[in-house]
Subunit: 407 residues, 2 copies
């Protein structure tokens, strides 16, 4: 197992800042800057929503044109710069140029991320102020940077992992924000991951795509997918370690997977109004894609989420959600178990068996479900497709947050 | 316009009953019987969930084998008889046989519907008592029958329409139940529609399939699809009117469309915890199917539903939901309007225009959205595909109802 630390002590060649630029009314941190002292090979994964925010469009273009010498990522919260047309794109470009000017680099070396309300223009005065403040105050304070990208998150999410290999040791570290609008295909999910290892671009992109698929793409908070989802991975090589051979690449992948999985789970734990952390182990579906889709459909179902909230072992809702996932599914071949905890060693109490209620006591199931974390194992009895999805309940608090987000 | 009456005075040759059989703990009506004095040609539309409840399986078989001489429909609430295996199917068959015995008809002439909690076996003693009571108390009391099929519905839903044609006049009348788990493809939605007109089976099935597609399949309460969805249409011909020629068939379709649309909208209005009735007019999508899917995705989005609840004209969430519908969609060609009311004559206030926020006052939008009914018109600017979807907000009350449904 890879040991993930829930903090970042520093990564060679990277400095960061989190400042109050003036976008958030309450004076909280709202602009983050991540800077490398040398060029980074950079990979990205972006939203699949047809509505892409201006910073997403800009970054996709930058990484297509210029993936080998990125130097900085500037991120603002409180305004998504989405559905803002040509002015929005211009503002994203200006944000990059102002950052480049402050750091004495080229605008093409800067990536931009935004999160917050859709359909409002970036307050460029505040952005300029934030860039001036942050570029003048770079340090190792990753906690401040992680706080500055939060929206309705209640706490910063950051993590790091140290990897030893034949050529030496290096660090992978990252921060993320989530909260609401979290769904398969990432939702309003921003993450910047950096490493002081050196990797070739193709390997780096493959590693990030693979890691995102088993982490950020396997969490469901509310089933909505945002216009701004972005995960970036910057590798500056300052550790002197070149990750090239198969063993080293496998070790890098394992560490990156563990890091992104941790950050993704942190997003679920801190989801809007979440009171329960729910792991859905879907096994023996016809294919892995089917298993993912069944888990995502269960995780997005309002009825199952309400039952999680109420500690109600209403397995009928889980099986019914599986049945409408649009995949192969046969209740008569399916069984379902529930256990307390995030990754229990045993599947626990069987509550559904081959199309029928299992023989169990309701009170036992309710006792398991009253825990803050629970795991359902759904055996579909059809094939070898397995996937684990992390999700949560829906509470009164979610409605309060999202009924009143903009006021 | 077809004049829909929100009550049923009686339909020639049909009698009904709604009784307390003992399934509901609070003594409320929980078993309904609809009986025709002569054979009915019968059409059905059923859930597309892969998990089908026992009564759905039984009725699908009955209508495949025996669609021309159905005599009765028996419906219980409080127990869905879903995920109940072979015993569940046996119980559904026994329910039909007991009903047939009480009415001195054949078991093959009886259809069965169930709604309620999944995964519990039908209490057959209560069912037998309800069948005895209801078969002994048949009358024109459709309100009692409609009350007996309710689960978390707060009021019975019934309607009738009188149609005049060259050959005379006839009635179409129906009842429905909904409340939660309402989604495209119908969800826990039961409806029995009867007519004293005579129609050929193929015409009747076509009329019902078409009517369901533009009514029950265009409503979204929570995006879940149930194991028990059933809409039945029984035609006994007692009015002496044969609906055969093209004009008469068109008039029948128009009346059936209006009736089912009314019942479907009633289901949304009475959805669990609903405080706002929202009409989504999706126009100029690439195809009708795309328009339906865009409307359904918006209607099922937790973020848009929360914004409806909070009277927040957060059009960004609506556009973002359209962008993830899996259809053709281009925000730069799209525009969005909002108006108060269920079917306003004008599109109202434009809030989004060609990929950009429109020039409007937030207070004006909030004022419109504080109304109990509102209509959004989304022009996709891509083709000629139009569809209207009816949906609702999500409130704290929904969470309370569904977090605590079984206790």
């Amino acid at each position: 197992m890879t040991a993930i630390s829930p903090s970042i002590d520093g990564v060679a060649g990277f400095q960061v800042a989190g400042v109050h630029a003036g976008l958030k009314k309450d004076g909280a941190l709202d602009l983050a800057l991540v800077v490398s002292e040398c060029d980074c090979v950079t990979a990205g994964v972006f939203t699949r929503n047809k509505v892409r925010a201006a910073p997403v469009l800009l970054d996709m273009q930058r990484l297509a044109d210029n993936p080998a010498n990125i130097r900085a990522v500037v991120t603002n919260s409180a305004c998504a710069n989405a559905c803002t047309g040509t002015l929005g794109l211009e503002n994203a470009r200006t944000t990059a140029r102002l950052t480049a000017d402050a750091l004495a680099i080229s605008a093409e070396q800067v990536l931009v991320m935004s999160t917050g309300v859709i359909g409002e223009h970036l307050p460029m005065g505040a952005i300029a102020r934030g860039i001036a403040l942050s570029s003048a105050g770079l340090s190792d304070d990753w906690a401040a940077a992680a706080a500055a990208i939060m929206t309705t998150d209640t706490r910063p999410k950051l993590a790091s992992v140290r990897v030893e290999c034949a050529g030496g040791s290096y660090t992978i570290a990252g921060m993320a924000k989530g909260a609401g609008m979290i769904a398969p295909d990432m939702a309003t999910m921003l993450s910047v991951v950096v490493t002081d290892a050196a990797l070739e671009l193709g390997e780096l992109q493959n590693a990030l795509s693979s890691a995102a698929q088993q982490s950020f793409n396997r969490i469901v908070v509310d089933g909505d997918t945002s216009t701004n989802d972005t995960v970036l991975l910057l590798a500056n090589g300052k550790s002197g370690v070149h990750v090239e051979d198969a063993d080293d690449l496998a070790a890098f992948q394992e560490a990156l997977d563990a890091l992104t999985r941790y950050l993704a789970q942190e997003i679920v734990r801190d989801g809007e109004g979440v009171t329960k952390f729910v792991t859905l182990d879907i096994v023996n579906a016809a294919t892995v894609a089917d298993a993912e889709r069944i888990g995502q459909t269960i995780g997005a179902s309002l009825l199952t989420k309400s039952a999680f909230y109420g500690s109600d072992a209403n397995w009928g809702r889980i099986v019914a959600a599986a049945g409408r996932a649009g995949t192969a599914f046969d209740p008569d071949r399916s069984s379902l178990w529930v256990a307390a905890g995030e990754s229990p060693s045993e599947p626990g109490l069987q509550i559904f068996a081959g199309g029928m209620p299992a023989d169990y006591q309701e009170a036992d199931a309710a006792a398991i479900m009253s825990a803050p974390a629970m795991t359902f194992k759904l055996d579909c009895g059809l094939g070898q497709g397995n996937a684990t999805i992390w999700t949560c309940d829906i509470s009164h608090e979610y409605i309060s947050i999202n009924g009143d987000y903009r006021s």
